[in-house]
Amino acid sequence: MISVLFFAKYREQLGTAKICIESSELAAENLTVAELKAHLSQRGDLWATVLNAENTLCAVNQDIADSACFIREGDEVAFYPPVTGG
């Protein structure tokens, strides 16, 4: 299972802070961030828009990750908009 978290505007737009995806749902055992985005984009236009927005950021296990980063069983993935703290 992998956990996928959404923050801030994306959390509100998608109406969820966290989803869990069973490995059995996924095509490959080790998929990339790009592949996870493609998988989740099947959930609907809103998901596709949020995940594929140019400035959407991704973290895997709380480290910033690019599209080519691999995701493994048990990982925590997060998608979020540009940060605005401080």
């Binding site: 505007k9 973290a59 709380q62 997060a78 979020y80 540009p82 940060v83 605005t84 401080g86």
Partner: protein
């Protein structure tokens, strides 16, 4: 190098944080500090309250990592970063960055470096409540531009 990172809904006491930094090292000659404060307007609109969201765990890790980068670049003795989350009102304190060093320029540089990277890398998000409703604050280009200095300017 001593480092303290705290993310919390609680307010902080700048004097107590400064005293703590000062007490950590007898070699400290300079403490540079930054306090971010909530303004009562943004982009021409009144802002009544603000709600700060963060990514628990990752936020603290990113900030610690930013402090480590600053410590690798300037000879600093200690650094403290405190960031509030939750509901804030105009004139509330939002963030504290304090850096202790032997000499003042190192303390100033490291403090501003930490603040600039916190602004662009630490996962916090602000939602403003204005008289016409709520809105998420957009990231500012000027915050990205502020980083350019740290690539070109000699420490």
């Amino acid at each position: 190098m001593h480092s303290l990172v705290r993310v919390s809904a609680d307010d902080f006491d700048v004097g107590a944080e400064c005293d703590a930094l000062r007490a950590l090292s007898r070699r400290s000659g300079a403490i540079a500090q930054f306090v971010g404060v909530m303004r009562d307007s943004n982009q021409g609109d009144d802002v009544l309250t603000m709600e700060l969201e963060h990514y628990p765990g990752m936020t603290e890790r990113r900030i610690s990592e930013i402090i480590e980068r600053a410590a690798a670049r300037w000879p600093i003795l200690a650094a403290t970063v405190i960031h509030r989350v939750g509901l804030l009102h105009p004139q509330d304190q939002i963030v504290f960055v304090g850096v202790s060093a032997g000499h003042r320029h190192d303390a100033f540089q490291a403090c501003e470096f930490i603040m600039d990277f916190l602004k662009t890398e630490a996962p916090f998000w602000k939602k403003e409540r204005t008289p016409s409703g709520e809105r998420w604050v957009d990231a500012r280009d000027t915050d990205q531009q502020a980083l350019a200095r740290w690539q070109t300017e000699k420490a």
